[in-house]
Symmetry: C2
Subunit: 333 residues, 2 copies
Amino acid sequence: MTCSGKGDLAVAVDLGGTKMSVALVRSDGRIVSQRRCLTNSDEGAKAVLGRLLLIISDMLSRVKSTKSELAGIAVACAGVIDMNKGIVTESPNLPGFSRIRLRDIIAHEFGVTCYVINDASAAALGEYEFGAGARGRVENLIYLTVSTGIGGGMIIRGQLYLGSDGSAGEIGHMIIKADGPLCKCGRRGCLESLAAGWAVARDAVECLKKGEESSILQLAGGKIEHVTAAVVSAAAKQGDILAQKVIRSAAGYLGIGLANIINVFNPQLVVIGGGLAKMGNLLLEPACKVAEALAFSLPGKSVRVVRARFIANAGILGAAAYVFSQLRGGVKG
Amino acid sequence: MTCSGKGDLAVAVDLGGTKMSVALVRSDGRIVSQRRCLTNSDEGAKAVLGRLLLIISDMLSRVKSTKSELAGIAVACAGVIDMNKGIVTESPNLPGFSRIRLRDIIAHEFGVTCYVINDASAAALGEYEFGAGARGRVENLIYLTVSTGIGGGMIIRGQLYLGSDGSAGEIGHMIIKADGPLCKCGRRGCLESLAAGWAVARDAVECLKKGEESSILQLAGGKIEHVTAAVVSAAAKQGDILAQKVIRSAAGYLGIGLANIINVFNPQLVVIGGGLAKMGNLLLEPACKVAEALAFSLPGKSVRVVRARFIANAGILGAAAYVFSQLRGGVKG
């Protein structure tokens, strides 16, 4: 039914709750062609899927011979992925997708091998193959994307580790503060609920509602519903005390998350991606200081914590890396 | 200098802060001969080492030909192990050992390959090879020992995962309650500080000091310093309300730790060893219920949480399993 070519090109899809992106990527990580559009997930999973199939079809039309040139298609998706079935089982940002056999539909439509993979796991592989991990000889790498949410991916002994069903890596939902704030996943005190973009925005809004003085509201155009992590970050850079306090708190929790990763995995490299990685001095530096203080000395000394090379294209390059890794002998749980 | 035989016997050492045990173990996990004695760690590392060398020597005298029969020696030790150097870098229960090149001294003394390995990592391998993991085809197994302290070990893709330096697996020091109680490691809110034996005893003592009614003190012979997790467990089994409350709290935190493991690793099997695993209905069952509620549905459904097969001999069998796994091609970080 489907053919898995040995080609040098992969169709890589990054399917997010807000945007989707489809690209044609070479095995060295070069993006040959790319298209982006809004996901409009409120239109329902079937509509989104229809649009996705159209863009993939358009992308495939740029490939002279899918048989000789194409290695496969991979879709990187936020959420808990059942890789045995090729479906998205839980994803707050892609409602309705759990009922769609995403992998099989795409594979059948184009007669090409298709994979569905968690976006942060894919990004871990992308950084390992093409990015921050590619510079040195690294065997064990943990990737953390700190964005609106927090996701994770793990390279163990030079191979992506996906666990028994393909759902491993939910580091963002590691509980680090029992009885902490409510997370979007329904648990309490997940790393995400304390250090992700939405948590930073929530904390800022709570303080503003209490009447604390700050320039945040002004930077958000006077509308409290427009307060985002980016706005808080901008205010902090301008010296706003409240914004700095909120980000310092998030950094402290991120540091605890990093220390847990270092003490449990003893990795050579931790790569931090996602939009909030750009906050640099404000977020990552204090987080690393906390992690350093909380890590055991041996794993703390040997680990390097670095910023990801890819932010916007992390999912795309990760999905492509996954296709090529499968060609080279596959990724085992 | 040292010879690594291809034999069917391993000398396995379990070096704890209170007791040490040395055994001769066959590659099928059978214990041929075993000696136990007190560690008396207050006498200092050199005295302990001297006693250990004597017992190993005695054990080796039972082997006809170390060259043809012996596969190697392994020492399982609590604490953070630098496997590259073969030393115990941090171990609250074995003071002074960080300055001793444990592996090299033993290897040199007997002319036999020696390994030093964390006891919980070893136990993970022991359960994987000979115990709870050996019954089914399991690729990914997480082992947790809940005893006075809490340790962890990880089997990833059928191999022990030790991380970059050999210190991976410190699941007991995963922080699950930021700003929680002080742990013996100096951090706050580690899983160990909330669910280990010493934490259960501490919580009980705190409540008793507040004057809460309970039969715990009576069971401890009227001496508050004799209150241990075993005493609290005995009281709980007799229906003591305070004891049950204290254990329920520990079970809740253990459940959070288990959920974190399940969501991050998506393993097929979680094996719980250590003295507190015997509490069964009191501790493990409620902990598993909490874990079930907090795990994502996909990894939560596919994982089995079981009791370890080995408690007293977990370190011994683990150390032996490590020696034989090295013969079969080694364990890579």
